[in-house]
Symmetry: C2
Subunit: 360 residues, 2 copies
């Protein structure tokens, strides 16, 4: 086939113009005679790429002064340790909001490095909603409050930014960063694995308020100390240069598209169309409360799970790939990140309706 519509939760589709530009520049970036992957990270060519990428990201997110932007490795799973190692010393334990599979992982890791209180959980509702502000029980002495604005597996999204007072708010935005404008000033730390909306796997973006840097516990490995990377422009050691470059191309694509407000309009429209199609049918169902539904990850089930395999096989034959739900929840999941074109969502809806007509 030519280009497929790939609904993977991550790694996920990249914008085709980004891939085409990477292809064109593979053997010779801007007359340098080098692929970006071959460049010394300290040479002027790569430094210009790195600086442009950071500047574009700052512009897209309107990141205020007083925040460092770090280009790291290790994924959100490494941040699950870095956050407590760097911040636990600031208070007496931390508050975590438990809304699904990824916040559970963050909590399990944080418990290894300090006291963790669950400020709210929706586990008794099988993670089908985000808790409301007045459900959050925050401790006076919290070092920080951690939450997961978008739960990739459950398809649950916070429709608001929690008010946590003076405590630093820490957010795992792996599956939502860059999908819409956000008010960065409300956060202490935002982190995100790149492999959904940013670029290829192997790059992790961390946006950290400067006053939160420099108080890591003594046993923190140098590479897990935010200070190490903040003081060196993310070049304490060799960064993932090619992934950084591809992320920079994604940032330029977003700017060309009109920035995050324009992206948000498209994303909202894609999600609304897909949820509407699901809700209009008794054949498909999504379990999440309408006010907490994710724009990015849309899990749905077939009324008859016996048809799951047939659905997946026929979808694949139509070029609609990776629709199988996460192994922990089953069913289907359509991840519709920034790079997923609107016509792909329309194609998925048309396929779903046709499949229901033949099998419903």
């Amino acid at each position: 086939m030519s280009r497929a519509y790939n609904f993977s939760a991550g790694p996920a589709m990249l914008p085709e113009p980004v891939l085409r530009r990477a292809m064109d520049e593979m053997l010779d970036w801007h007359g340098s005679g080098m692929c970006v992957a071959e460049m010394s990270h300290r040479g002027k060519e790569f430094m210009s790429i790195a600086e442009q990428a950071e500047a574009d990201l700052r512009e897209l997110l309107a990141i205020p002064d007083g925040y460092k932007v770090l280009f790291l490795q290790g994924g959100a799973s490494t941040q699950f340790a870095m956050v407590p190692l760097n911040l636990m010393g600031r208070g007496e334990g931390a508050d975590y909001i438990k809304t699904g599979s990824w916040s559970k992982k963050a909590i399990a890791e944080a418990k290894r490095f300090g006291a963790v209180r669950i400020a709210a959980t929706t586990e008794e509702d099988r993670f089908t909603r985000a808790p409301a502000q007045d459900e959050l029980a925050l401790d006076a002495g919290s070092a920080y409050v951690h939450y997961t604005p978008n739960e990739t597996i459950e398809g649950v999204e916070f429709p608001y930014i929690p008010d946590v007072g003076e405590r630093p708010l820490v957010a795992d935005m792996s599956s939502t960063l860059l999908s819409r404008p956000i008010d960065v000033a409300r956060y202490g730390i935002i982190y995100a694995g790149a492999q959904k909306n940013i670029g290829p796997a192997g790059l992790t973006i961390v946006i950290v308020r400067e006053d939160l840097i420099g108080a890591a516990t003594e046993q923190t490995p140098t590479m897990l100390d935010y200070r190490t990377h903040a003081e060196s422009g993310s070049m304490y050691n060799t960064p993932p240069t090619y992934a950084w470059y591809l992320a920079g191309l994604v940032f330029q694509w977003l700017k060309d598209l009109g920035g995050l407000s324009a992206m948000a309009t498209i994303n909202e429209r894609k999600a609304a169309a897909l949820y509407a199609a699901i809700d209009a049918s008794d054949f498909y169902a999504n379990p999440v409360e309408p006010g907490s539904r994710s724009w990015m990850n849309v899990p749905f089930t077939l009324a008859d799970p016996e048809l799951d395999a047939k659905f997946l096989a026929e979808a694949k034959a139509e070029g609609l790939l990776t629709l199988k739900g996460h192994r922990s929840v089953g069913g289907m999941r359509a991840s519709i990140y920034n790079a997923m074109p609107e016509e792909a969502v329309q194609a998925l809806i048309a396929f779903m309706q046709e499949f229901e007509r033949r099998n419903g």
Copy 2:
């Protein structure tokens, strides 16, 4: 320019056939409709790429049974912490051999997690040689012995594998792995950042004997525990998939070339030619003892450092890039890894001779 000869110490040149194949497969890998960077790491397409890469690496290095091969993130600098966090508990402190800038970094990090003894150092010789076997003072209770077979900055290489008895031998092979056959069975752990001989920056290869897995200290972050990655086939979280794929293409290129014996013959010839040219001249000098000279990194100085800038500018105009020595030692450095063609070394030698003729 078209393709340049890039003598960077890392990230470094990649084989042109590897880049061409990546370019051809950028929009559609093997009819999948996806770039490899877009594939779910748990899908059958990427799993086949990952497994083939590991199988090819095992074949190239003749890795015996009883070793895990891990595809990680974080570079050698993260291994500097992972090694003591995972192994210190096995004995009373560890022995480190100090031969240059990178072993010093490994030592500094290990000291944060346990007692470090210096089994040998060549610091009084300004790191111009590898210590001999009979200079190594190893402790009876050592948890492990760590060394750096090739010091990238000083251009010093061990001409032998240290005999450390029953202690596990741990080697930072970042700048030498895959440059020649090695006897893996002599090692407990071999680790290497990819960005010299393996692939793009952002991938770290770890080859670890299975009995060394599973005794990490309690405070070890989950992502820094070898067990986490050994038990999950390096897929505890999303691995750096595109870098893994490019490394796999490099492994196939090496196999097509005849494997590591064939590669070693070429590498030895490249290094011999360049050192012979340096030694034949009073205009250029390399400070390293002949028996400890690196095949991979060839530092050299000009008799008149005033000419350095001119040398670099004229070399660049000839398409000979990134010859400036590391900022800590000055002078020049030609890194001539696997992907550096023999004709490039000949071109460098011809340029050096011509430059000397005009300026000597």
